[in-house]
Symmetry: C2
Subunit: 360 residues, 2 copies
C-alpha cells in the first residue's frame, strides 16, 4: 500500500508520566516502558502503528533532548532528522509549533496527525481507518479536527469534548466545548447525554490551518518560531533562545478551546491514555478475581480487584487484599488504593520535596 | 545481686517463625532479627533479660545445629557448653528433655524456667519479679507451673489457659484446661469470664518434677534420653540416633494437658509472642493514624492502621490504604491484610511448594 507523501505524523514524546511513578520517572518516562508486558515499549508501538498510515520518513518524534538516545534505542530505524529535540519541556503548543517548522521546511502542503507517544490503542485497524477519514477531512477543510473517544464509563480522570449533534460530513461534528476533568456526578450526566467524548489528545489538521491558528491565538509563540530556520547553521543556538522565552501552554488551552472551527470525529478503537495505574489495571488481562499481575514471580492469594506490577526479580505476594495497586520498582515500592490513583501526583510531589528529586 | 546457683533457664531457640515470613525464614529465623528496630535481636534481648534472674552460666540455649553460629554471633559471651544443639526440629518436648539431660549432669537440684527466644517482654522488672515468685513456688512444690498472661483483648491467635479461681498461694492457681486458638466469639466469652489467660509458653518447674512427668506421660522420650550421657565420647552420635527415633510433640500437648498438678501464675509484663505481623503492629510505636513504619525511608500518605516493615534501602510509600501490612525484604515483597495475618502460613506453604523452598 502506498502512502500519501503529503501526510505526516507528529508523535509527542516529551512527557514524564508522573502518575505512573515510580516506574515512569524523569530519567525513564512511561513511553519507553513496556508497561503492558508485551515486549514493546509504548513509543515503539505508537511508531509502528503510524507506519500503516503515512510514509515512515513522514513520522516525526518530538521529545526532550534528554531522551534522544532513548528514542534511537527504541526506534533504531528512525532517521535523526526525524527526531526533533526540545531544549526544555513547554507543554504541547510549542512542541507542535516546533514540529510544524520542520515539516514546513520539507512540505508546506502537509496534512498532519498529532498524537501522544504513550497511549494504548487496541484496535489498530479501526484506528487507521478513523485516522484516514480525519486526514481526508482536514485536507479539504480549514478546520482543526480532534479524535474524540466514545466514553464507556464515567471516568473522572479524562477531559471531555461536547459536540453539536448535527453531522457535518463523514461522521464529523462541530465541537461545542472542551471541559476539564469532571466530578463523578457530572461525568455520569455527560455519559447519559451522549453529547460528550473523551479528549484523547489526537489532532488532525493541515499545516496551513494549524499555523494560521497559532498565529491568531498564540502570536508570541508564532513570532518566536517564525524567526527560526531549521537549516541555518546556528539553528540550535537560536532554538535554545526561542524556547527559553517561550510560554508553557497546552494546545488544548491555547488553541482548541479558542478557535472557531474545531471539529471532532467520534471514535472507537480501544483507547486508553494509560495515565494512571488504575487505567493499566482497566486494560490488563485479569484472573477470575479481577487481579492483574504484571511481571515475573507475582502471586495473589484471596485477593481481588488488584494490580501488581513487578519491575524486579523479587517474589511479590499479595494476600487478603482488595482494590490495591502494588508497584515494585528497582528503588521504590509504591502501594496505593486502586480507587485513589490520582493521588500519586501528590505523593510524587511530597517525595520530590523531601528527597530533593532523588526518586524523580 | 547474687543469683541462686540452683536456678536455671532454658531458652528455646529452634523455631523458624514462619508467620513472620518473608523476614523470618528457615535460614534466618525471627529470634535473630531486630524485629522491633531497637538495635537488638529478640534472642539477645531474651538472654540479657535472664541474666537478671539466674547466674549467666546457668542459661542454656537449645537450638537447631544449623543456628549454632548465629547464636554465638548474637550472644558472643555464651560458652559453647551452654549452647545445646538439636540434630533436628522435634517440637518442644524433646527440646526440654534434652536440656534437662545437660542440666542434670551439672546440678540435679536445679529449678528451671523454660522460655521461648523470640517473644517480646516490655516490663522487664515485673517479669523478673514474676519469674522469682514462680521459681520459689516450683522449688517447694512438685508442680508444673506456667506463666499465664492476663488477656487484654479477645485474641484468636493465642492458646488459652483456664484456671480454678481458688488461690493456692502467692497468686498461683490450679489449671483446669488448656485450650487451642479459639474463635472470636469464644475468645470474647473467655475474656468476660476472667477465668482464662494467654498461654505464653513459659514454664517453671524443678528438674525432678519435669523429669518425672516426662517419664510418666512421654515414656518413649524418657527412654531415648535416659540412655544418653552428655559426657560420653560418642554423645553426639548417640544423640543423632535418639533424635532420629524421637517423636515430634509439644510440651503443652505431651505433658501440660495431661499432668495432674499443673498450676498457673496470672501475670502482666507487657508480653507479646510477636507471632504475626499484626502482633508486631500491636506493640509498635504508631503515628496519629495508627500506622507503624519500621525501617528506613518509609512513608504513609492518607493511610491508617497499617504496618510497613522495610528491611531494604528502598523507598517505600503507601497511600490511601487501610489495615495493610507491607513487608519489603531482600528477595520478597509481601502485602497482606492486617486482619488476616494468620493466612501467612498458608501463603508460605503455597510458595514453598511452587518454588521448592527457594524462599524458605
Amino acid at each position: 500500500m502506498t502512502q500519501n507523501k503529503n501526510h505526516y505524523v507528529i508523535i509527542m514524546a516529551g512527557g514524564i508520566g508522573s502518575r505512573f511513578w515510580p516506574v515512569s520517572k524523569k530519567s525513564f518516562p512511561k513511553q519507553f516502558i513496556d508497561i503492558l508486558g508485551t515486549g514493546e515499549s509504548l513509543i515503539k508501538q505508537t511508531f509502528n502503528r503510524f507506519t500503516h498510515l503515512v510514509p515512515e520518513e513522514n513520522i516525526f518524534i518530538v521529545t526532550n533532548k534528554d531522551y534522544a538516545e532513548l528514542v534511537q534505542e527504541h526506534i533504531p530505524q528512525i532517521k535523526t532528522s526525524r527526531i526533533i529535540l526540545e531544549p526544555s519541556a513547554k507543554n504541547t503548543a510549542p512542541c507542535i509549533a516546533l514540529a510544524n517548522l520542520h515539516i514546513k521546511s520539507i512540505n508546506p502542503e502537509a496534512t498532519i496527525l498529532v498524537a501522544p507517544s504513550d497511549h494504548l490503542i487496541l484496535s489498530e485497524i479501526k484506528f487507521i481507518q478513523t485516522a484516514k477519514v480525519a486526514i481526508s477531512f482536514a485536507e479539504s477543510n480549514p478546520s482543526l479536527l480532534t479524535l474524540g473517544i466514545k466514553p464507556t464509563r464515567p471516568d473522572t480522570g479524562y477531559g471531555y469534548i461536547q459536540f453539536n449533534k448535527t453531522e457535518l460530513q463523514d461522521g464529523i461534528y462541530k465541537v461545542k466545548t472542551f471541559t476539564e476533568k469532571p466530578t463523578l456526578d457530572i461525568a455520569i450526566s455527560f455519559l447519559e447525554s451522549k453529547e460528550f467524548l473523551w479528549n484523547a489528545g489526537i489532532f488532525v489538521w493541515s499545516l496551513k490551518s494549524i499555523s494560521n491558528s497559532i498565529e491568531q491565538h498564540l502570536p508570541e509563540i508564532h513570532q518566536l518560531f517564525a524567526e527560526l530556520d531549521v537549516n541555518a547553521p546556528n539553528y540550535h543556538v537560536e532554538l535554545e533562545k526561542s524556547y527559553a522565552q517561550c510560554p508553557s501552554i497546552s494546545i488544548d488551552y491555547g488553541i482548541m478551546e479558542k478557535d472557531d472551527f474545531v471539529c471532532v470525529l467520534p471514535s472507537e478503537f480501544g483507547w486508553s491514555d494509560l495515565g494512571t495505574w488504575k487505567s493499566l489495571w482497566d486494560v490488563s488481562d485479569k484472573d477470575p478475581y479481577q487481579n492483574a499481575l504484571i511481571g515475573k514471580n507475582t502471586h495473589a492469594f484471596d485477593s481481588k480487584n488488584s494490580l501488581v506490577f513487578n519491575d524486579t526479580d523479587k517474589l511479590v505476594v499479595i494476600s487478603g487484599v482488595d482494590n490495591l495497586v502494588v508497584v515494585e520498582s528497582q528503588n521504590v515500592l509504591l502501594v496505593i488504593n486502586n480507587e485513589k490513583e490520582q493521588e500519586v501526583k501528590t505523593v510524587v510531589g511530597a517525595i520530590k520535596d523531601q528527597y530533593k528529586g532523588k526518586y524523580d
